[in-house]
């Protein structure tokens, strides 16, 4: 049957091609704006590519991408279980702050204990941040999207408040927390970084992100837990009819999603930031997670690669001003990509356009396809 499908049908039916097309269109629109500004498209995109393909550049990309992978996983997990976790922003912030508190207050502990403790603390706090929202939804039917947005702000101010507590606050003049103990750092050793020519913040957080990607995939696709969560996500009433406890499933899904975002906060802190500044605005890791999840087709591995792609855009984008292009170009590209993913049904329409308007061409095309094989 596949043999007879023409190229348009394949495009119309393959989700990953929609995503790649969207990305392509994003860059096309970016190029359009570069042209309007009278800038050299080749130079700008060339710079973008060259800055992320060197060893050092790519190590930056990987480091940048860790938090995006984690929030992307968090949102993707929630999508698959029928919830829209727009609250991964707050869960990320809370997880980050939990890791910071542990990393500062228990800094004497050896790494082998302190690091897992930071991870665990961040995951628990992120999970709790998700569970509260789930509880509000189950108990009083409060729309989770609304309460999550509010909880993002609660997390924002709570984080700023905690950063101001004397035991946590920096001893210097910086409006930030103290630095976390070196024992809590996930940075690679200085020698290794120098030998390999990596960026100074190169850390092994990416391995944790990869591990979490695999775990999320296992849960969703291979376990009874994932079955239960998906069943509730797809059809609450049928799941209930089938004997699944719906309220508990929603809480579980939010807890896992929140834990992933929370861990993302810890990984970012322990690998890159080493302290948390007093925010003046939301950092947007959680919101970027939505973009990453969308680009990754709500699939954990998709989110992993989309996270790296996003990290590359952010890092590469920061180098654009070297060729005179505004770094905001990246926002244009990302925005366009998301827009096209959101309306990717238009790619599915390709099939119909083709059949209706050029039936003969379609026949020829499909014969050709057949011959090729």
């Amino acid at each position: 049957m596949d043999k007879k499908k023409n190229v348009f049908t394949i495009i119309a039916e393959t989700r990953i091609i929609h995503i790649l097309l969207s990305i392509l269109l994003g860059f096309a629109v970016g190029a359009f704006f570069l042209l309007i500004m009278g800038l050299d498209v080749g130079a700008a995109y060339g710079r973008l590519i060259s800055s992320v393909t060197s060893v050092k550049g790519f190590s930056y990309v990987v480091v940048y991408s860790i938090p995006y992978i984690m929030t992307g996983l968090s949102v993707a997990f929630s999508f698959r279980t029928g919830i829209f976790n727009i609250g991964s922003e707050g869960q990320f912030v809370m997880g980050s702050m939990a890791a910071a508190c542990i990393g500062i207050l228990l800094g004497q502990l050896p790494s082998a204990i302190l690091i897992p403790l930071c991870f665990l603390g961040a995951m628990v706090v992120g999970a709790v941040w998700g569970i509260i929202v789930g509880f509000l939804k189950n108990k009083w039917g409060i729309n989770e999207v609304l309460s999550m947005i509010m909880f993002n702000w609660i997390a924002f101010y709570l984080s700023n408040f905690i950063a101001g507590i004397p035991a946590i606050h920096s001893d210097g003049t910086a409006e930030a927390t103290k630095n976390i103990s070196e024992n809590a750092s996930t940075l690679l050793s200085k020698e290794l970084i120098a030998d390999l020519g990596l960026c100074p913040t190169a850390n092994w957080g990416i391995l944790v992100a990869l591990l979490m990607t695999i775990i999320a995939w296992l849960i969703i696709d291979k376990t009874t837990l994932g079955y239960r969560l998906k069943a509730v996500g797809f059809n609450k009433t049928a799941a209930e009819y089938g004997g699944i406890n719906v309220s508990r499933s929603i809480l579980t899904a939010l807890a896992i999603s929140g834990a992933l975002a929370g861990l993302g906060g810890a990984l970012q802190l322990m690998g890159m930031g080493s302290r948390i500044s007093v925010f003046s605005s939301q950092e947007g890791y959680g919101f970027a997670g939505i973009v990453v999840a969308l680009m990754g087709c709500s699939n954990p591995f998709g989110a992993f690669f989309a996270g790296i792609f996003y990290g590359a855009l952010i890092y590469g984008g920061s180098k654009l001003n070297l060729v005179g292009a505004p770094t905001q170009l990246i926002n244009v590209i990302v925005g366009t990509v998301v827009l096209f993913i959101a309306i990717s049904v238009i790619f599915q329409r390709l099939k119909y356009v083709h059949i209706n308007k050029k039936p003969k061409a379609a026949a020829v095309q499909s014969v050709k396809e057949g011959d090729d094989k």
Partner: protein
């Protein structure tokens, strides 16, 4: 049967040798259809036979791969429904296309609203709607909101909507699938009066009884192929059924006499409220024993839906007791009932019965996914699940074959029901509750479903059958309990029941003697 309004010399629709292909699949393979002025023409075929595809071409939603469509004798090419509407064709879909919070008037004039300058002229709109409703004898309340009126009324609104746009040819897709018997009768009267006005009507259906009652001619389609067009008066229901499925169909079920055993389901003085918190089940008593089918006959809205919801644990009762095999399942979660012997074929297969986005194989283990061999230590054994699905697909004749990993949503209604039946029967519980198990199914599938229900009874299971189809209740039940106003008002042995008495009891009347 009245054919006096038909003008056999004036064909209004002629579809000639229509072929419609979707890739490799031929949905319509050389279909001919002629409809005359003032005629009610039924299109009969099993689920997936290509009826809707044919009508979608007539309504401009699809273009034929080859073939010709003539409207009022002139060849016509339709690119979209607007062209069809312009040609005087109106369609009422099975699932109504109405805006729930809007009023009847607003829905009818939608898209062709009368205006005063830039403002809507709702006064004129309302007047127009009243006028057209009177002209065709379709009484409606123009100011009622769609969400507040019954399904039968909503259908009237759909018909009026088509008439308002000047339709002379009405296509009704499965018009009776969600109507009560009374509403069906009313619909038939309405269709008749419309043909008197020179309208032509095409009904897509698989209900033989209604074809016999309403249609003048009937075109039968089987697996995309044109079988025949017959004069409905001259064929029997059985003949229609065989033409439709391509083999002989038996309507009678093989049900040997047997003595019922001990009580499995015992409902005592049950009370519960409906979604508005108004009491709807008002002290109901019910027993079902091993090896018998108890049918609940009643008009929709008398508490039967809520009764089943309480038994299966989806709704909380206010008071009473429910025992299944001696265990009190009253106000326990669904899982508790399941573990104590309740299985059920729910009324709404897409809402309660299946997870449409899940594959067939995953739907088949909805209650057993945590048991071996399907999973061990929380990890699935995909091979076992797949094998289980393969076996079920084979022994329950789920089509298409090899559909283990296809999502349930891609199956036809009849096959979705087979998936549920396969699951619930294989759960092998002592009590089977079936609610409208054949709603929307064609005769082939109905025969099949009935066979399995009776088989469960013969195997010594207790079966509670709730159905709005009186025929179904009468042909399957050992005992018929009539429900009215939240109570069982009468209990008659199935073999002694007659339609008139049951009808009276269902309406709250009394039967003499």
């Amino acid at each position: 049967m009245a054919k006096e309004y038909i003008d056999m010399n004036t064909p209004v629709i002629e579809m000639r040798d229509i072929v419609k292909k979707f890739g490799d699949f031929t949905a319509n393979d050389g279909i001919n259809l002629t409809v005359h002025k003032g005629e009610i023409h039924a299109i009969l075929g099993e689920n997936g036979a290509g009826k809707s595809t044919l009508m979608n071409q007539l309504y401009g939603l699809l273009k034929p791969t080859s073939g010709q469509i003539l409207v009022n004798g002139k060849p016509i090419e339709m690119n979209n429904p607007r062209d069809a509407i312009a040609a005087g064709i109106g369609m009422v879909h099975q699932h109504f296309m109405l805006i729930q919070p809007f009023t009847v008037t607003e829905n009818i004039v939608l898209g062709t609203e009368p205006t005063k300058g830039v403002a809507l002229d709702m006064v004129t709109a309302r007047k127009n709607v009243e006028e057209i409703s009177q002209r065709y004898g379709l009484a409606i309340d123009p100011d009622a909101r769609i969400e507040d009126i019954s399904v039968g009324m909503q259908q009237r609104v759909e018909i009026l909507k088509a008439l308002y746009r000047g339709a002379d040819i009405l296509i009704l897709d499965e018009p009776t699938s969600s109507l009560t018997p009374q509403e069906i009768e009313e619909l038939i009267v309405i269709m008749r009066s419309l043909t008197k006005d020179g309208k032509s009507i095409i009904i897509i259906t698989h209900k033989l009884k209604e074809i016999k009652a309403a249609a003048d001619f009937c075109t039968i389609i089987r697996q995309g192929k044109y079988i025949d067009t017959v004069d409905v008066e001259k064929v029997s229901e059985n003949e229609l059924a065989s033409m439709m499925v391509g083999r002989n169909v038996t309507f009678t079920v093989d049900k040997p006499e047997q003595e019922p055993g001990e009580v499995v389901l015992d409902v005592k003085d049950l009370h519960c409220n409906d979604y508005r918190d108004v009491e709807i089940v008002k002290g109901l008593n019910l027993q079902v024993r091993r090896g018998e089918i108890v049918g609940i006959a009643g008009i929709d809205g008398n508490g039967q839906t809520e009764l089943v919801e309480v038994i299966t644990g989806l709704r909380k009762g206010t008071s009473g007791q429910i025992f299944v095999n001696g265990a009190d399942v009253f106000n326990k979660p669904p899982r508790f009932g399941f573990d104590h012997g309740v299985s059920s074929i729910p009324a709404d297969r897409q809402k309660h019965g299946l997870i449409l986005d899940f594959s067939i194989e995953d739907n088949l283990i909805l209650q057993n996914y945590e048991e071996q061999p399907y999973s061990k230590n929380h990890f699935f054994n995909r091979n076992a699940i797949f094998e289980h699905a393969t076996e079920s697909i084979e022994s329950y004749d789920i089509r298409p074959q090899h559909s283990e990993r296809r999502t349930a949503g891609t199956l036809s209604g009849g096959n979705q029901q087979k998936v549920i039946i396969a699951r619930e029967v294989q759960n092998d519980k002592d009590l089977l509750i079936a609610v409208n198990p054949t709603r929307g199914l064609d005769v082939g599938a109905i025969e099949y479903v009935h066979k399995y229900i009776v088989e469960q009874r013969n195997k010594g299971k207790a079966v509670l059958l709730v159905s709005f189809e009186l025929d179904e209740i009468m042909s399957l039940s050992d005992i018929i309990d009539v429900i009215f106003d939240g109570k069982i008002v009468a209990s008659v042995p199935g073999k002694d029941a007659n339609e008139n008495d049951l009808g009276l009891l269902m309406a709250g009347g009394k039967v003499n003697g």
